[in-house]
Amino acid sequence: MLFLLSLAARNLVRNLRRTVLTGTAVVAGVALMIFGWGLIDGLDDNILRAARLTYAGDLVLRPDGYPDDGLRFPLDQAAAVSPALTAKLDAAGPWTARTTFPARLVKGVDAQRVFVVAYDPATETRVFDRKSWRLEGSWPAADKPEIVAGSAFARLMELKLGDEVVLEARTRDGAINALNYTVVGVVRTDNTTMDNLSVWMEAPAAEQLAVLGGVRTQIAVLPTATPDVAKATLAGLGWTPLTLPEECDDLIAMNRIRRKSISVVVGMIMLIAATGIANTVIMAAFERIREIGTLLALGMPRRDVQLLFLLEGGVMGLVAGVFGAVLGSSLVLYWQANGMDFSSIVEKMAANMSMSVVVYTHFSWAPTLLSLLFGVVVAVLASVWPARYASRIVPADAVRAD
């Protein structure tokens, strides 16, 4: 067996150019598989991270019956945070409440629909450390008519620091109100949707604009216990708690579809690789008919000849698979450390994704080893037929072949 392995390896080196060309498809397939999985896992992380760092914490509560699609923020379904809920929240861990409501922002001749995110300056940073956000300018000063614009929204409206704008919004009761504001900051958060559609102001300023009467639309909690435990204690007080995975399940489900489409692409590359390997091994068999005949004449059992060719495919698959695994893992590890910045693409597409424009890929061993194994298995399977062909050669004729 060891001898056959060495013979197989030497035969592969013999036509190195062809071996490398064939192996490249396996390298690409395995690398893509690992990278694709790493990227999708990274996207999953990214979705959760975006929600955790920008609006949900580890547990998000909305008034019972409030829509959670993130596209509408009806003020008439907002609710006050009752003393009973406040007590429970205080016991659960750091928390903050926000009110998000629709408005129209007007700057000169331009107007655009926007969502106002009103935060409580006293508690906001207990839940959202804002460390990964990029703020140009400053956050609004207390009791001043100042706003911070989401980065993509600011770009759309060509908002600059110091710009005077009007925000027109409905009060909670339905009357139209409009007030002048100064743009004092532009922020890029971890959430593209918010950067596209939001302006930020302190809750007291929002109270003036929308006459909220203290109602809130979301509460974000960082529970000291597990989110599930906290969820149980906070339920039934007029607000519906959702853990982070529950909150993001629809986006995560979309990733499952993406994962399938990557598998299809990998499958196609592997099919190409398999065809290449089968072709290479069968070519090797055709070219070496006399050699195979000689081995048989010298008494090598047919199953050893078959094994020799299977090994040639398998060794190629293993070596190419290792290269592919190293390549794919390197990419995943690199972007796990440095993050892939999609901001320019996202800006071009004006895409609305509840996630950060910086995606950190996610390395794990299981998909890496699985991809490698997959490469080897494909290579061996592709060699089965050529190997069988080689082992059925008639030595009496083959030894005299040209």
Binding site: T294, G299, M300, P301, A396, R400
Partner: protein, 226 residues
């Protein structure tokens, strides 16, 4: 008698027709012979050699090797017989290109399942054919004559009952061909190794001590010389 064909017929199907390669041939080879099967192509000499070399089975008749009929052995068993008892020398040398001279010779012992003192025996076999300085060369680094010497060492190393040499000089120039033939003749005379050739090279035939002539699947002459 080391090997013997007894009333052997070999037919090959060729489409609807059957080509008769051997038609009732009986011929034997004794230990220590230096014999040539001669004849034009199509005479059946290669077929006869294949049968004696256990590379093929007859349509009818017996193939006796060491007194045992191998005509009815299964593929695997026939392979095992070849590995242990038959040495081959081919027209095109047929060395394994990725193996060195020594490894090529070693391969024969490995396949014969003959593991005792292998390295020394391999070296001795190569020294015997005059290649002591070329043990670790690959076939591509050797001349035709040198390659054929490796092939002879490979055939000899396992001490087979008979060495089948199929046109061993055909791909060599006359000087090299003669040297190779001289080497085999020497081994035959000194060590009593049995050689069976197929050839139409007159030089080979002149060196043979017995020439069996075949034509159209029949033995048409059997001439022994002193």
């Amino acid at each position: 008698m080391i090997c013997e064909l007894v009333d052997v017929t070999k037919e090959y199907p060729m489409g609807e027709l059957k080509v008769v390669a051997l038609a009732g041939v009986s011929v034997g080879v004794d230990a220590g012979e230096f014999t040539v099967f001669a004849g034009p192509s199509g005479s059946g000499k290669s077929t006869a050699l294949n049968l004696i070399g256990c590379l093929d089975r007859p349509s009818s008749g017996k193939v006796l090797l060491d007194g045992k009929d191998v005509a009815t052995l299964a593929d695997e068993a026939l392979g095992a017989v070849r590995a242990r008892r038959i040495g081959f020398i081919f027209q095109s040398f047929n060395l394994i290109p990725v193996l060195t001279a020594a490894e090529n010779v070693d391969l024969a012992l490995r396949l014969a399942g003959d593991t005792e003192n292998r390295a020394a025996r391999v070296e001795k076999a190569l020294v015997d054919v005059g290649l002591q300085d070329y043990l670790h060369r690959r076939p591509s680094q050797l001349s035709g004559g040198q390659q054929q010497r490796v092939a002879i060492a490979r055939a000899l190393v396992k001490k087979p009952a008979i060495i089948i040499a199929d046109e061993p000089t055909a791909n060599l120039d006359s000087t090299n061909g003669e040297a190779i033939l001289e080497l085999m003749r020497e081994m035959n005379e000194r060590d009593g190794v049995t050689f069976l050739f197929s050839t139409h090279d007159p030089m080979v035939m002149s060196r043979a001590r017995r020439v069996v002539k075949l034509k159209d699947g029949h033995v048409v002459g059997d001439e022994r010389r002193a």
